[in-house]
Symmetry: none
Subunit: 143 residues, 4 copies
Amino acid sequence: MTTFPINKANQIITGAFAKAAALKLKPLGVSVLDAGGHLVAFQRQDGASFLRPQMSSGKAYAALSVGMGGRRVEAIARERPHLTAGVSDLSGGKILPVAGGVLIRDNAGTVIGAVGISGDTSDNDEIAAIAGIETAGLTADAG
Amino acid sequence: MTTFPINKANQIITGAFAKAAALKLKPLGVSVLDAGGHLVAFQRQDGASFLRPQMSSGKAYAALSVGMGGRRVEAIARERPHLTAGVSDLSGGKILPVAGGVLIRDNAGTVIGAVGISGDTSDNDEIAAIAGIETAGLTADAG
Amino acid sequence: MTTFPINKANQIITGAFAKAAALKLKPLGVSVLDAGGHLVAFQRQDGASFLRPQMSSGKAYAALSVGMGGRRVEAIARERPHLTAGVSDLSGGKILPVAGGVLIRDNAGTVIGAVGISGDTSDNDEIAAIAGIETAGLTADAG
Amino acid sequence: MTTFPINKANQIITGAFAKAAALKLKPLGVSVLDAGGHLVAFQRQDGASFLRPQMSSGKAYAALSVGMGGRRVEAIARERPHLTAGVSDLSGGKILPVAGGVLIRDNAGTVIGAVGISGDTSDNDEIAAIAGIETAGLTADAG
């Protein structure tokens, strides 16, 4: 069962796209996953390439699978690539270990989902993800 | 590149959910794929189980991969199960060969994408998919 | 290394398309594989759905992998589905066990490759494959 | 549905082979993919090794999946190998992240497909791909 409400997921995507428009980012794919790593909502802007669904979900999945934001996930991938390779295998090849995957926390600090964005630079993807989460009144943890 | 506009995809999902509400269907997952079988938009209603993303996409992917609506896809699966099993293998296990995957055609009859819905009975899933496509002013081909 | 000449492969595809045009078949995908099961040439006609590359190759691969034309391959799939399922697994999911995969034999009767066609009915796919092989002056073995 | 015309795909292959002959390149495999990453046409020259179908398609698929020419794809693979490894996993192992995959753009700059070539050095593969695309009156984007 989903543990993340669809209306919040849609708010996140709307907020992320608004930030992307303000910053004139490239076309994005935005995935919102629940705490179990399952997709709640996804949108791909016109012109975004076709692997953006998997890439955006993969960033969010990576963050959720180890309970860390994508920035820390990517730092680990640089420092201990064998660890990240193992995690990827164990996940069934579902993770993209780079910035742009951001944990969503509630007011108590509990992880209730994650956002992954892919399309512009990883730094800009992350900025849009944080903006989306804050639009929905939730707390972003980019790592 | 996406070849199906995101605003049309969102209209389809909104239209499908409206039909589902009118018919009091169970919580749904709705996937809209472009002509190449790549996800453009997805939404999962509160209470829908976690495999609905893959199940809804799998119905749409099955229809697109052979150029037939899901109703015909399912009929073939009954008549020639070895054929459908082979297609599933060749697709990398991406297809769900049942009703509820509906091709989207433009005014010229060209396939421009597909909708897949999963959550209620296959018949009801299909009804919601057709309603969504028609909401967006496009032509549904359920097979 | 390829053991089937590209000029013969192209003649086969041209011949198959000519037969398809004469019979007004639906848009086809045509694969020509060498005796080792590796692709030599492929063409997909405008309007053919996107899994036709895998489906046409899968028919030819199935025929080559057991040294029988696709018609016999499909008969076995109906009679002993567990056998076909096992072969599919062993092949890494590369086979489509239906008619439309046709072995290519030289004048001595040796199998030197196979043609697979997908797009119309399996019977019509097979007719086009046989026509293509004969256009190239080779012998077709449909099983 | 294919979104790239077969006659243009064949012109590209003919043009690439003509360039290869002029430069005395080694035997090549040439894949032309539509915008959704699906094969439209492939030819493997006599003497080209048997994995050239996958290698040439993998270059084109890599370029399309992230919307960048193969030269940039390869640069990213050197700088952020964990990113490329993740993309490879997410694609189901379908990408070859090296030069020789070239995006095809129409006059408006829209990506409408990609060419991948494998058989000689990556630089020479790329030269032949660009020549093929220009033969068909289209614009090459090697990254």
